[in-house]
């Protein structure tokens, strides 16, 4: 049914387990329909590996529509692959690549994201940052009517822009310092723009930044690689927002308390 097929050489990071040494291994990817997604291309290569009795390449994925944040590859040196498309790996289509080219496929690399196997990494550090303060404490069933507190469209839209983060960790993988500031900034900004988020605003930012530091993420030194790769198009403005909220909260904690 499909019109065009392509051929590639994949240079893939293989690593048997967390402590094993890893290395690049070359695999041919032949007769790949140009309409296939990057992960479908990997499926085809894996099917061939299995048919030959070899172990397939392990990689994370689930929704395959760019929203769950589970897929996580560095492709030709870029988190989620050739950018400009602002898409996750699962939403990357082979027609974007040059026929006959060699494609490097690596896991997200960052100290807080240890490798489990091949291209699969641990990202629980991001969950722990959110655990520290990325929530509004309200008891189920205790809420007031949803229209009791009007929110300007500007703030609702701004909150939504930040809340769109899919938590994939590409920002960390792309940052030379492995900083998680875009991720943390997105969550802090989302809540800070809404009236419901105000009561815990100061505590939240202090707790989340505290946990981020504890997890070993680096600092932001304004490379903006994070914004460039973010599939949810989160803007670095959220980092400015984060810094401002953090400074205010610190000042308050030293004076009136948070």
């Amino acid at each position: 049914m499909h019109r065009k097929t392509m051929n590639f050489t994949l240079r893939v990071w293989r690593q048997k387990s967390a402590n094993a040494a890893g290395r690049f291994v070359d695999y041919p990817a032949r007769n790949i329909p140009d309409e296939a997604s990057f992960l479908e291309m990997l499926d085809i290569v894996n099917e061939e590996l299995e048919a030959r009795g070899e172990e397939p390449i392990a990689f994370d994925h689930d929704c395959r529509e760019g929203i769950c944040g589970m897929c996580s590859l560095v492709i030709n040196g870029l988190a989620h692959g050739p950018n400009g498309s602002h898409a996750t790996t699962c939403q990357l289509y082979m027609r974007l690549f040059d026929d006959g080219s060699t494609i490097y496929v690596e896991p997200f690399r960052a100290t807080p994201f240890p490798i489990i196997k091949d291209l699969v990494v641990h990202r629980a550090a991001l969950d722990r940052i959110q655990q520290a303060g990325g929530f509004i404490s309200n008891r189920t069933g205790s809420a007031v009517d949803a229209n009791a507190n009007p929110v300007s469209k500007r703030d609702a839209d701004g909150a939504m822009d930040a809340a769109a983060c899919i938590g994939c960790g590409a920002c960390v993988a792309a940052c030379p310092n492995a900083s998680a500031m875009l991720f943390v900034g997105a969550k802090v900004t989302h809540f800070a723009r809404l009236p419901q988020g105000q009561p815990e605003r100061d505590r939240r930012v202090l707790a989340m930044v505290g946990q981020m530091d504890k997890e070993g993420f680096g600092n932001c030194s304004n490379h903006y690689e994070c914004e460039a790769v973010c599939p949810a198009e989160i803007k670095v403005d959220v980092i400015a927002h984060l810094n401002r909220d953090f400074d205010i909260a610190k000042l308050k904690s030293a004076t009136v308390g948070v």
Partner: protein, 640 residues
């Protein structure tokens, strides 16, 4: 075989006051006793995430499991369009009763009245709860919440967050969940797959899981088990579900004695991106909300199908939904819209590769509102469409075709959301309870959150009050037995070392199910499938190749376990479809249709829930729960 009717435990009294009465009559557990009860919540989607967070907040000791690397990635995240609630914020005549009625009718009168009424009743509190947790729903300039319309309803009651409503609702529930994890009230086990249910003295007391990183199999014991594991649409291989969605959790519970209800009720969603080739791994939904502004059409003449759409004159287009269902038009319910698309394509008037597609056209809406407005409403969907197809839907109509999307069937539960196995509760898409034979758009999110936030916290104590906490430990013989069976199965899968990949079996099963148990079914086809599935299963168990080892991260092994279960479950679906000799909602038996091709129900003989009991080595036994309608009148569903 004659079996006693199932008791739904629906409370007595008028529909409107059943739930309030029930809550008042419910048993309470004193705060200092709650932490003695351990609740195992399998799943962290809207149903599981909301339940785990709320039960922990109330003081129970909760353990929560999911197969993804984080609770935030449950498949609820992918829901696009919106969530219904009877707020009547638009003042357009909505009410709890209307939402209830639309849902019952939308389900083609195959759902339980009392459950659906309760769902409509708590819908309003869901929106309040979500806003309080910071869900950034769309708003109007005045600061109030905005609404859109969904299929099968003539009011505007759907709340949304751009095209990412599921994401925002799930992240709301997730934030409450992580708060409880941080407080130590929930222990979270990501990358952990449930492979069996453990029943002790007739009560569900635990689960056997596999740690997907180390590959180690272990048990967890608890005082109640909540399965919130989502739907089984992946039995068709191609569906809009995430790749990991499975039937394993619910099917294993079925094999331990829980009844499986209406397994053949599956929803084929009308607006998905058409299949492009056999390399394809999943199908992508284009939200139903698009039908607010998009018009569905195919050429009137077969000869026009190959022409570019712009060259087909207005009078040569068949806007078939508007023609056949003038009062609902493009917002006709999903089962009806899907079937109409199939009819048009079967008639040779489909468009695009293989003739399996129809147009969803935004030209009129863009003319009326301008491109920026359409972009604001659906921008991310148009972007996704372009990424996948390489086509710009602002300039030319989208091509869409129906695809498997949702499963109304699931484990049987009573009004308490408890299965026939005491202690085993089932929430969200994993149960069967609220959508009958067809689910209306924007009501699965509503049901997941209703079950998790507002129903189970009230119904679970009624069970817990009857059991002494902490009586069963994971070293009980029933656990050891179940663990041994899981390990044996793994060993067997790894030792076959055959010639075919797991995916090749899954694809073959999927195609078979789509052909014989998909949008249209009939006796001959179903019988053929019932013959073919056991053959395919036998081949699987003698010729599948599963590489690697058990005690490591092994994605082929994970898939193999799920496909092995689909290969059994598919048979149950076909059996259910064969047994139900009527058409209703998504279950369309070609032998039972009206002269103009609509579903023909048989209320005299089939107004019941089919609940199947597993019998080792024999045919499953059918139990019936009669559906008694005290409030709505059973009528032919018409959207004309």
């Amino acid at each position: 075989m004659h079996t006693p009717h199932l008791d739904s435990k629906t409370p007595a009294g008028p529909l409107e006051s059943k739930w309030q009465r029930y809550c008042f009559d419910s048993k309470l557990i004193a705060p200092h006793n709650k932490r003695k009860y351990k609740i195992l919540v399998v799943g962290s989607g809207l149903a599981g995430g909301a339940a785990a967070a709320t039960l922990a907040e109330q003081g129970y000791a909760v353990e929560c499991f999911c197969y993804q690397d984080s609770a935030r990635r449950a498949h609820s995240i992918a829901a696009q369009g919106g969530i219904n609630a009877a707020k009547n914020y638009q003042g357009d005549g909505d009410s709890v009763y209307r939402l209830f009625f639309d849902t019952i009718k939308g389900g083609d009168f195959r759902a339980r009245e009392a459950n659906v009424y309760r769902l409509a009743e708590v819908s309003s509190a869901i929106i309040d709860q979500c806003v309080a947790t910071g869900v950034p729903f769309a708003r109007e300039y005045g600061g109030l919440l905005a609404n859109r319309s969904f299929g099968g309803s003539q009011v505007s009651r759907t709340f949304y967050a751009r095209g990412q409503t599921g994401q925002q609702l799930l992240l709301g529930a997730y934030s409450s969940l992580v708060r409880q994890i941080g407080l130590g009230a929930v222990k979270m086990f990501p990358r952990t797959e449930m492979l069996d249910l453990v029943v002790v003295d007739g009560h569900a007391k635990g689960i056997v899981v596999r740690d997907m990183v180390s590959g180690k199999v272990r048990s967890h014991a608890g005082d109640a088990v909540l399965l919130c594991t989502g739907g089984y649409g992946n039995v068709f291989f191609l569906s809009t579900n995430a790749k990991g969605c499975n039937v394993t959790a619910t099917y294993r519970a079925y094999k331990r004695g829980a009844y499986f209800a209406n397994p053949c009720f599956t929803q084929i969603h009308p607006t998905c991106i058409p299949v492009a080739g056999d390399y394809q791994s999943k199908l992508t939904l284009m939200s139903e909300s698009l039908r607010n502004d998009g018009r569905v059409w195919v050429p009137k003449k077969k000869e026009d199908c190959a022409k570019p759409p712009a060259q087909i004159a207005e009078e040569d287009r068949d806007y078939y939904l508007e023609r056949k269902y003038p009062s609902y038009g493009n917002l006709a319910p999903r089962d009806i819209s899907s079937r109409s698309a199939k009819e048009a394509c079967d008639d040779g008037r489909g468009v695009g590769p293989g003739g399996l597609g129809v147009y969803l056209d935004f030209a009129d809406a863009i003319k009326r509102f301008g491109e920026p407005v359409i972009k604001e409403r659906y921008g991310n969907l148009f972007d996704m469409y372009e990424r996948i197809t390489g086509e710009n839907a602002y300039k030319q109509p989208m091509r869409i075709y129906p695809a498997v999307h949702y499963t109304m069937g699931g484990l049987w539960v009573d009004y308490n959301l408890m299965s026939n196995l005491p202690g085993l509760h089932v929430l969200g898409e994993a149960n069967f309870s609220d959508h009958g034979a067809n689910r209306l758009g924007a009501s699965a999110l509503m049901q997941g959150l209703a079950d998790g936030y507002f129903v189970i916290p009230h119904t679970l104590p009624n069970y817990l009050a009857t059991v002494k906490p902490g009586t069963v430990k994971p070293d009980a013989p029933e656990f050891k037995q179940a663990e041994a069976e899981v390990n044996e199965r793994t060993r067997k899968l790894l030792s076959i070392k055959g010639k075919r990949t797991v995916d090749s079996f899954h694809r073959e099963l999927g195609l078979l199910m789509w052909d014989k148990c998909g949008m249209a079914r009939n006796e001959a086809g179903l019988k053929e499938a019932l013959k073919r599935i056991p053959e395919l299963r036998a081949e699987f168990w003698s010729n599948v190749f599963v590489p690697g080892e058990g005690e490591e991260l092994n994605q082929s092994l994970e898939k193999a376990g799920r496909v092995a279960d689909f290969l059994e479950f598919g048979e149950l679906m076909c059996l259910d479809a064969l047994t139900r000799k009527e058409s209703c909602g998504g279950h369309f038996r070609t032998e039972h249709q009206t002269p103009d091709g609509e579903a023909l129900r048989d209320d005299d003989n089939y107004a019941f829930v089919s609940a199947w009991e597993y019998v080792q080595g024999g045919e499953p036994v059918l139990h019936k729960e009669p559906l008694v309608y005290e409030n709505v009148k059973l009528a032919t569903r018409s959207y004309k």
